[in-house]
Symmetry: C2
Subunit: 143 residues, 2 copies
């Protein structure tokens, strides 16, 4: 029932590097990490509702509503009611949001992606992809 000492070390190393990565990710952007994540996703996937974005980012709708509200204050996204369903709010990038995203990409946005391209071999990328699947399984594990 008890985890082995070796597994505990592995788990500890994982926990520490997760924390480091999260903090480095946070510190890299002019806007916040959550905001950058939303901008990038809208750019990749186009207009989405708040609930859709929340589901994709795996946070509560209330949390995403706040992030989207912050982005709207900065003029980077635009909200409009869904003509087909008055409850839904459609979120899309503004011209200013697209420009900001482009500009930021040349500096700091997409940092993980750039690091992956610069640092990892093809083999490494395959290992990372497999490991992401493992991490997802761990996250979903129930005692």
């Amino acid at each position: 029932v008890t985890a082995t000492r070796l597994t505990q070390s592995l788990a500890g190393d994982l926990r520490v590097v997760l924390g480091q990565l999260m903090r480095r990710l946070r510190s890299m952007h002019g806007f916040s990490l959550s905001q950058a994540a939303v901008l990038g996703r809208l750019d990749r996937e186009g207009t989405m509702s708040i609930g859709d974005i929340a589901a994709a980012e795996r946070v509560r709708p209330q949390s995403m509503a706040q992030t989207v509200a912050d982005l709207e204050l900065d003029g980077l996204i635009e909200r409009s009611p869904d003509p087909a369903d008055g409850r839904r709010v459609l979120v899309s990038l503004t011209a200013s949001g697209i420009a900001t995203l482009d500009e930021d990409r040349h500096k700091r946005e997409g940092w993980i992606a750039l690091a992956i391209d610069a640092e990892l071999s093809e083999h490494d990328r395959e290992v990372l992809e497999e490991a992401i699947g493992l991490l997802q399984r761990l996250e979903r594990w129930q005692d």
Copy 2:
């Protein structure tokens, strides 16, 4: 210079699963994740100074001082001056801290370790170990 669309997706998936894992880790414990991390580390490595713990967890000494102060208020750890260097503060588990850690292990502590033992094959564990090294390289990458 620009990352490929595929790498961007990989990076996005990684970012999302990192966030999920961090949040799940946080929600699993009676005490906070940082507190649990410190208790576990003291148990594995014995008495350490605040600076030592901060370095191992890769956070600033000021942050660790706060975590340690919280644990002291709960009576789970004990602070004592280093007889050999009056600037240093040695931190060790109290009897109550050891008891709390033991008790919690049977419920929620060491959750990642338990999940790894339960969910991952020997091959998976090797992949994870390799991936942790890759994540460390990514974290240290400089543009």
